[in-house]
């Protein structure tokens, strides 16, 4: 197996407990909120039934329950986002700091150093997407649990797209349209690559590097945002047509992406210091 994939595996392996814990936290929060919510609703109905034996109860659908406990669903998602965001930095800095500096070993591996960069990038993306996939799996499991604890005659069927629509975070993180998924995560990957390169700038030039890195990030953000703001995407009398403005922005993104990756590779192979 080639060394890049071995490095990816190594990075995943190092994070396995954290990733597992994030999944665990998500599962515990969501499933307990679900069971608690369903039970409290059912017991409330039972109370009512005791007092008014004639009452009829409405049906319960999974997506309505998910909607009513959005908050408890979102919390572990936010925790995961926070942890992963932090790890974007830690995945590099943990190799420099501490009692032993693994970066010595990594840089001395008989393989192109860009593999280290790509492996860390792949690892972060693997974590992100595995949490996304886990959430999807969890929703299937949660629906099964829901079907088990709610009496069959009270279950109103609900469609999977309704469950996604029931939670604000799902709508953003697992959008219904695939092209939006590609677009959002593409933008995320670009941001990730820019941050990686900024980290490598700092690692290469240290104190002065912090200034360079901040400047680099600023320039990147500005280069993307400025044409959107200045070319009048929302003005009907803008000289350029919207599709042209987006074309320009896409072009800029492609250039930034290529430049960031190239700079990252170059710093790693020529400038980096342990």
């Amino acid at each position: 197996m080639n060394r890049y994939l071995k490095l990816v595996h190594m990075e995943i392996h190092r994070f396995r407990y954290v990733l597992g814990s994030l999944m665990g936290i998500t599962m515990i929060f969501q499933i307990s909120a679900l069971i608690w919510q369903v039970n409290s609703k059912l017991s409330m109905d039972r109370e009512t039934a005791k007092q008014f034996p004639e009452s009829l109860f409405s049906q319960i659908s999974f997506h309505e329950i998910v909607f009513s406990i959005q908050f408890w669903f979102i919390i572990p998602i936010l925790v995961s986002i926070a942890v992963l965001s932090l790890y974007v930095f830690l995945i590099w800095y943990r190799d420099w700091f501490g009692r032993n500096t693994f970066i010595y070993r990594l840089l001395m591996l008989p393989t192109a150093r860009r593999h280290i960069y790509l492996a860390k990038l792949t690892a972060i993306l693997t974590f992100v997407f595995s949490l996304v996939a886990f959430q999807l799996l969890l929703l299937v499991i949660e629906k099964l649990i829901f079907n088990m604890i709610v009496p069959a005659d009270r279950i109103q069927s609900s469609h999977f797209s309704d469950v996604i629509a029931a939670n604000q975070a799902f709508k953003e993180l697992i959008p219904r349209a695939f092209d939006q998924f590609v677009f959002s995560y593409g933008l995320g990957i670009m941001a990730l690559i820019i941050i990686f390169t900024a980290i490598l700038i700092e690692r290469s030039y240290r104190m002065v590097g912090i200034v360079y890195a901040a400047l680099y990030v600023f320039v990147c953000v500005f280069a993307v945002v400025f044409p959107l703001l200045s070319l009048g995407i929302d003005r009907s009398n803008a000289y350029l047509y919207p599709e042209e403005i987006f074309g320009i922005v896409f072009g800029i993104c492609a250039v930034l992406l290529a430049a960031s990756v190239w700079l990252g590779f170059r710093l790693l192979s020529k400038k980096i210091a342990v």
């Binding site: 994939l5 997407f129 797209s161 309704d162 590609v182 003005r235």
Partner: protein, 407 residues
């Protein structure tokens, strides 16, 4: 390989999980509907799209239904939608779309629909520009771009229309061409009031030939204000001899120290002929509409001014020929029942057709009427494309609210 199991599992998990979600999403088909002919000529409904939503899910799903079937918004690309949504109002109109396609460079930066004029020879765009000059007076200019469609030559004129009145801003309401003269209908604002002018510019030289103020003769009293509007030719890419001006008088009633209420007092319509320069009050509409309900809609199509109203579930269309100065045949109180339905949802007048969205037993129907006679040329209704056993339930989930006619 066994050592790498964790990574392999995660990789497969990601691909299968996210893949299954999107495959499942793409295969998630919402019910299909179609506009089916009940009677008449199906060609009449060819250009019509009915839009509304499907309510069988937790969130309403927007869709359009036409004679070919139905299209849900979710199935159109979300991303492309948001990408080209900006400015879309500008190019939604099929006229504008065609112009953009044909004259991409000339159309750049030109955003105001009413500022365009088009015929077989010329494409003209005018813009009013007001800026403060060195003497801190306001300079008013008309910027006119002309495209000769035969040669492709672009000419630009700039006409100074500043005078002592010191206009604070100017709007172009209409642009027309009469032989070698360009007519620009301009609304100019001076302090709290506004005026309408017809500026006539020589097509060949760009010189201002004359400046005609359109004197409608209506004065505003104390605590009253006049609002001027223009009803221009329905199809922007077709020349028209006339424009209809609407002068609405509003009364201000002070409600508190810093807010007041406006009530419409009267509304008068005038026709103006660019060719003759004649301003003619349309007495048949004098103060008429304000007594009736609000849902009235004037449309100018060539020489014919139409007024379409939905009054207590009945359609009334009055038509007036501006060049002959006489009333034409129209439709009088055609009720939903007469059209074989329970109620009228919405109306749309386009060219010489009236499109009526009806509901019968809460099922949407479409009727296409001839403007002159009120004859039903087409009638159709939304149908569910699927097993008949679900039909009744699925029809309950369909709500259609708007008519869009692609001319």
């Amino acid at each position: 390989m066994k050592r790498y199991l964790l990574s392999v599992i995660l990789g497969v998990f990601i691909v299968v999980g996210i893949g299954a979600y999107y495959v499942n999403g793409a295969m998630d088909r919402l019910p299909e509907y179609k506009l089916s002919t009940l009677e008449g000529n199906p060609d009449e409904a060819q250009m019509v799209k009915l839009s509304g939503s499907y309510g069988g899910r937790m969130l309403w799903e927007s869709l359009t239904v036409d004679t070919d079937g139905s299209i849900y918004r979710k199935d159109r690309s979300e991303f492309a939608k948001s990408l080209f949504n900006n400015q879309s109002w500008k190019f939604r109109d099929s006229d504008m779309k065609a112009l953009k396609k044909e004259h991409r460079n000339f159309m750049r930066g030109k955003g105001l629909m009413d500022s365009f004029y088009k015929d077989e020879e010329w494409l003209i765009y005018a813009e009013g520009i007001v800026h403060r000059n060195n003497n801190s007076m306001l300079d008013a200019n008309l910027k006119i771009d002309l495209l000769n469609e035969k040669t492709g030559n672009v000419t630009q004129y700039r006409v100074d229309i500043s005078d002592e009145a010191n206009y604070s801003w100017i709007d172009i309401l209409d642009v027309q061409r009469v032989d070698d003269q360009i007519h620009l209908l301009v609304r100019q604002h001076v302090e709290a009031s506004s005026e309408l002018h017809d500026y006539v510019v020589d097509l060949k030289s760009g010189q201002l030939i004359r400046n005609e103020m359109l004197n409608h003769g209506i004065r505003s009293g104390e605590n009253e204000e006049l609002n001027l509007f223009a009803i221009t030719n329905e199809i922007r890419s077709k020349p028209g001899e006339f424009v209809v001006l609407s002068v609405r008088k509003d009364r201000r009633t002070k409600e508190s120290s810093n807010s007041y209420r406006l009530d419409s007092v009267s509304e008068d319509l005038f026709s103006y002929s660019y060719k003759t320069g004649k301003l003619n009050e349309l007495l048949i509409y004098k103060n008429k509409n304000k007594l009736e309900d609000d849902s009235n809609d004037f449309t100018l199509n060539g020489n014919i001014l139409s007024n379409l109203r939905n009054n207590t579930n009945a359609i009334t269309l009055s038509r007036y020929d501006l060049s002959l100065d006489q009333k034409l045949e129209g439709i009088t109180s055609l009720s939903a029942q007469q059209l074989g339905a329970d109620d009228i949802g919405s109306l749309r007048l386009s060219q010489n057709r009236v499109y009526v969205l009806l509901r019968k037993d809460s099922i949407p129907q479409l009727a296409v009427l001839d403007t002159a006679t009120g004859t039903v040329l087409y009638k159709g209704q939304a149908t569910y494309e699927g097993p008949a056993s679900n039909s009744e339930e699925q029809m309950k989930n369909l709500r259609l609210l708007n008519i869009d006619v692609q001319s």
